[in-house]
């Protein structure tokens, strides 16, 4: 490259001036990190798209070659004064000896100043003698008595302490914080990961501060998921709440696996089973039904169907109906012809975030400090989506590469590795096998995390599109158990669902210890308690139909030509307020209750007493009997309702609008 020739020229000129001095600092690993650590290369400073004050560095100083060029070559090389190193702009600005918009960044006694000065005095080389040709292999961080030490391992086998050049961050500052020097302050119970970054690489170490109080003793049980979960809570000394009562559990299981609450008969059947077999027996029953396909289809579509890519979305439902391995759906994504539509980068990013759980998209614009994915990786992985097999070779279709001078890029897998291509294997097949089992477990971890989120209400890796070092799973061992179960069962979704639904984690109660702890309860974060979830609008409508009319599909309504369940304005709503207005006023409940022979009417016709009617109504709507205070409260209305259809409909409407009906607890 021409720029390298220029460097050589500079070096030879400099060599004359500084011949006697040893080369003492390496720009890549000893100077550039200073700009990152002191914020000079941040987005709101010189790292911004246009730099600051005419001086531009790469964002977070991750492109040392360009930064070296900017410092040593631009501005007639006035940023550096070899005669009087201290007079270099590079040192006068950050010490605010001259005007500097960024203020004083460090003073003359600092390590940064001394290091920059030494580097200039030694001729401002790109590489030092010691690290010539070396590259960074690995980064390690360790915590010794609340002091972090960062060791960089270089390709020449050399280990160096780079603590003074690293940047630190805690994933949970409320648990443990870490300052610029790498000193750790414990703040409160919980788990935190402490991260160190150096020269585009990250490392982390975990810190667990147990909850105070008497040491708890948890039974581990037989279920592998429960064993991993109990061990995690035991380590944290965090006592989980008790299991949910049977009617709450039955309702939860039916909503999750069938998309509706259980009928009174189904509840009776559920309770008739021995307590420790209820989850297994019922999930077996529900997983075999068509309703499971309907309930899970929307989730799978959002993971496996890239919007606007002309794929037949019904394929997902068919695959689910036949219980095909989910890996088949991956293969489908790359059916011939589909790949040529749209921007290959969109496809690469969709595959990255939805199938692998990694947000490589950030690197479309810039390298990101929290991500290990670089622009080069993003580009070369994207190129794979424009590759065809031609004469037994992988050939790149013309591929426009922004900012790269239209030069074609070599397609590669993630992390960058060249493809060993067997003739006869299409790039689609290469991609499929890479995604499902490319020497990593990203696919299984991602799907396991998403299914866990669907069933439990929140994910082990929050922001499921974005697994990264600084976004670790809340319980690593739990995610590992789930991922390996999924993989070992050949990516069988039903088996994974049953695995989770039969665990103790799934069965936990959701009642908070007190009203104050809605948001801040650590039991929620660490899965020692379950969170009650409000129904979504479609879930709610389905539940209403099922309760009032025992009819679970709108299509069936249409087939019958019945106007009963045809919601007035059930076209999609787009805000929470519109959702609740629909619930109140779209007429779904009213028309249902006005239909002859609906379930509510039947209760009041066939009940011998108001007490019985009230009990049956509660069981129908809320899957439980009324409590004493509820009987007292509502018996007068129920009595009236035996002979007055208006009172009956008012009471049923109130129950259907209740917070309890509108929530999966």
């Amino acid at each position: 490259m021409p720029s390298e020739i220029r460097f050589a020229n500079v070096a030879s000129v400099l060599a004359f001036a500084v011949m006697a001095l040893p080369v003492r600092a390496d720009f890549r690993y000893e100077i550039a990190p200073i700009f990152a650590r002191h914020g000079c290369a941040a987005a709101d400073c010189h790292g911004g798209a246009t730099g600051r004050g005419g001086f531009k560095l790469s964002l977070f100083a991750t492109e040392p070659r360009a930064d070296f060029e900017a410092i040593t070559r631009e501005l007639g090389a006035r940023r550096i004064d070899f005669q009087h190193a201290e007079d270099s702009l590079l040192l006068k600005k950050p010490t605010k000896t001259v005007k500097h918009g960024g203020g004083r960044v460090f003073d003359k006694s600092s390590h940064a100043f001394q290091q920059l000065k030494r580097w200039i005095e030694s001729g401002a080389p790109y590489e030092s003698d010691r690290l010539k040709g070396a590259s960074l292999n690995e980064l390690q961080v360790s915590n010794d008595k609340e002091r972090l030490t960062v060791i960089a391992n270089f390709s020449k086998g050399e280990d160096r302490d780079v603590t003074h050049l690293a940047m630190f961050e805690s994933t949970a500052p409320a648990v443990a914080d870490v300052d610029e020097q790498g000193l750790v302050t414990r703040r409160g119970p919980g788990k935190a990961w402490l991260l160190a970054r150096f020269s585009g690489m990250s490392a982390r170490t975990r810190l667990n501060i147990p909850f105070p109080g008497k040491t708890i003793g948890l039974e581990t049980g037989e279920h592998p998921l429960d064993r991993a979960w109990a061990a995690a809570l035991q380590e944290q000394n965090l006592q989980p709440v008790a299991a949910a009562p049977p009617h709450v559990f039955a309702r939860r299981l039916y909503f999750d696996l069938a998309g509706r609450p259980p009928t009174p008969d189904e509840l009776a059947a559920f309770v008739a089973v021995a307590p420790n077999a209820r989850a297994a027996v019922t999930s077996e029953l529900l997983l075999a039904r068509e309703a499971f396909v309907e309930a899970f289809q929307p989730h799978l579509k959002s993971w496996f169907v890239q919007p606007s890519r002309g794929r037949d979305p019904s394929r997902v439902g068919k695959a689910l109906g036949k219980n095909e391995p989910l890996s088949n759906l991956v293969a489908d994504l790359f059916q011939p012809g589909l790949n040529l539509r749209g921007d290959p980068r969109d496809q690469a990013e969709f595959v990255g975030s939805k199938l692998l759980g990694i947000s490589i998209g950030c690197a479309r614009c810039h390298n990101h400090p929290h991500d290990r994915w670089t622009q080069a990786e993003h580009l070369r992985f994207s190129a794979l989506f424009r590759t065809r097999e031609k004469d037994g070779q992988l050939a790149l279709d013309p591929f426009f590469v922004p900012g790269e001078g239209h030069r074609p890029v070599q397609p590669a897998l993630l992390p960058l590795s060249n493809i060993s291509h067997k003739p006869g294997t299409s790039p689609d097949a290469v991609l499929t096998s890479f995604i499902v089992d490319g020497g990593h477990d990203l696919f299984s971890r991602n799907i396991a995390n998403r299914v866990f989120e669907v069933l439990i209400g929140s994910a082990l890796v929050n922001a499921p599109d974005d697994h990264r070092m600084s976004n670790p799973p809340i319980h690593e061992a739990v995610l590992e158990v789930l991922a390996s179960h999924f993989k070992n069962s050949s990516y069988d979704l039903r088996k994974l669902v049953r695995f989770i639904a039969t665990s103790k984690v799934y069965a936990l109660a959701s009642d908070p210890p007190d009203a104050e702890s809605l948001a801040g309860d650590p039991a929620l974060k660490y899965f020692a308690r379950r969170e009650a979830r409000s129904l979504t609008q479609p879930q709610f409508e389905r539940a209403i139909r099922s309760v009032i009319g025992h009819d679970h599909s709108r299509a069936a309504d249409r087939r019958r030509g019945s106007s009963m369940m045809e919601a007035d304005d059930s076209s999609e709503t787009t805000s929470p307020l519109a959702d609740q207005l629909a619930i109140l006023n779209n007429g779904l409940i009213q028309r249902g209750l006005a239909t002859k022979g609906n379930e509510v009417e039947a209760i009041f016709i066939f009940s011998a007493s108001a007490e019985q009617a009230l009990e049956e109504l509660f069981t129908l709507v809320l899957t439980r009997r009324p409590r004493n205070e509820e009987v007292q409260q509502f018996l007068p209305v129920a009595t009236k309702a035996l002979s007055d259809s208006q009172a009956r409909d008012d009471l049923a409407t109130a129950l259907l609008l209740s917070r309890e009906f509108g929530s999966i607890r």
């Binding site: 798209a49 998209g361 959701s510 007035d568 709503t573 929470p576 307020l577 109140l584 409260q633 008012d650």
Partner: protein, 420 residues
């Protein structure tokens, strides 16, 4: 613990709805808040700049097109011959004629104009109205952001929680059968709501944030639909006949009237979306025929809105923006239409904090690109938020907890538009 977006969600929902118990006996609705309100008239599809605000009477016929232009109250500024009323108002508005953007596709262009950010593959950003929702609503008794009849997908909350989404009416005033979707309660709702209250009280406090949020929004929905005074806000029959007529009979006019009424009732942002501005064929008849024709309808609606706000003493408390995703090709195409043109477009602004009679920027003789003071959609976004007194330094958090600024890094307020 929980993600910030979620805390923000609950914080916003609970804070905004603390008023609810007294709502059924609400005081007369009058805009009492100090925060300025915003009306955006969004001409969806791409308004031809040459045929509206950037007339080129001296350009050759294939550029100036079949529609004439007239000089406005500001010397040298030519507007459509169908904008006589707006033309007269020009000395009381700010006109920007040098908006320029690289986004010539409807979705991406709209995203840039409505959010001040270019669309990225990972994120869509919050729009004007959602920012203002976050910034603080005008009046807690009504939805803070309303879209008539609906919102462009990029006029919504972007990556913010759904709480910040616009309330879309689902129906346009001025059309027969105008009726806000699901606003009218069924007869038994009032009785059922009483029983519901007893039911939920026996249930105790909500079990989770999502239950608490649902409670709050259900209650807001109940109040909105059960309180006749609040429902009347959406009812244009409550306006006198003269006012109704002044705005014009069509949906643009009646929607602008509704926007004024909603703002008066305490709504902070109203988006009026008028579709059908993508005039690839026969621009002459597309703009000047129909029921009512588009250009005269905009002329009538915008001038009535200005007049109405001024005569009610509201002009200083409201910012009005007329804009669309891009301009249209200066040269008339073989089908007599104009195609997408993002290198130049215009926007009209008036109201509180906006200079009167300012004309910013200029396009070349053929209306192809700015030759003076180019303005990016991000700059316009910055300017409008500033005029509204919104917090432009806020850092937002994406669902994956990445910090994002409200404004594009390179945005600057448009010089010469703001009074301060």
């Amino acid at each position: 613990m929980n993600s910030p977006s979620r805390r923000q969600f609950i914080g916003t929902s609970m804070g905004a709805l603390s008023f609810l118990p007294g709502l059924l006996h609400a005081a007369p609705l009058l805009r009492g808040s100090k925060k300025k309100a915003f009306i955006l008239l969004w001409l969806d599809g791409g308004m031809s700049h040459i045929d509206t605000f950037d007339g080129k009477p001296e350009a050759p016929p294939d550029i100036r097109g079949p529609l004439g232009s007239i000089e406005s109250a500001t010397e040298g500024v030519f507007v459509s011959e169908h904008f006589p009323k707006i033309g007269k108002l020009m000395d009381r508005c700010s006109l920007i004629r040098s908006i320029t953007s690289p986004e010539g596709n409807h979705d991406r262009g709209s995203h840039y104009m409505l959010t001040g950010r270019r669309l990225t593959p990972l994120l869509s950003y919050p729009s004007f109205g959602s920012h203002l929702h976050l910034d603080g609503s005008g009046d807690d008794r009504v939805p803070p952001y309303i879209a008539i009849p609906d919102a462009h997908v990029y006029a919504r909350q972007g990556f913010l929680p759904a709480m910040h989404a616009p309330f879309e009416l689902g129906s346009a005033p001025g059309k027969p059968g105008y009726r806000v979707r699901n606003l009218q309660p069924p007869p038994q709702m009032e009785r059922a709501m009483k029983l519901l209250k007893a039911m939920d009280q026996l249930d105790g406090p909500p079990r989770s944030e999502s239950e608490a949020a649902r409670d709050a929004v259900l209650q807001q929905a109940g109040s909105l639909s059960l309180n006749p005074k609040l429902r009347e806000l959406f009812d244009l029959k409550k306006e006198d006949a003269v006012t109704q007529k002044r705005y014009g009979n069509g949906t643009i006019g009646q929607s602008c009237l509704l926007a004024r009424r909603l703002i008066e009732g305490g709504v902070r942002t109203v988006l009026v979306r008028d579709k059908g501005w993508d005039h690839h064929t026969n621009i002459l008849s597309s703009l000047t025929t129909g029921f009512p024709p588009k250009l005269p309808a905009v002329d009538t609606a915008v001038s009535a809105l200005h007049h109405d706000l001024e005569s009610r003493g509201m002009l200083e408390d409201v910012v009005v923006l007329v804009a669309s995703e891009f301009g249209r090709t200066p040269r008339i195409n073989p089908s007599g239409g104009r195609d997408h043109w993002s290198r130049a477009s215009s926007a009209l602004l008036f109201g509180g904090g906006i200079k009167k009679g300012a004309v910013v920027g200029k396009t070349d003789a053929r209306g192809e690109e700015p030759i003076e003071q180019p303005v990016s959609p991000a700059d316009l976004f910055y300017t409008v938020l500033s005029a509204l007194g919104a917090d432009t330094d806020r850092i937002l958090t994406t669902p994956s907890r990445r910090p994002i600024r409200v404004l594009d890094e390179e945005a600057v307020p448009v010089r010469g538009v703001l009074t301060t």
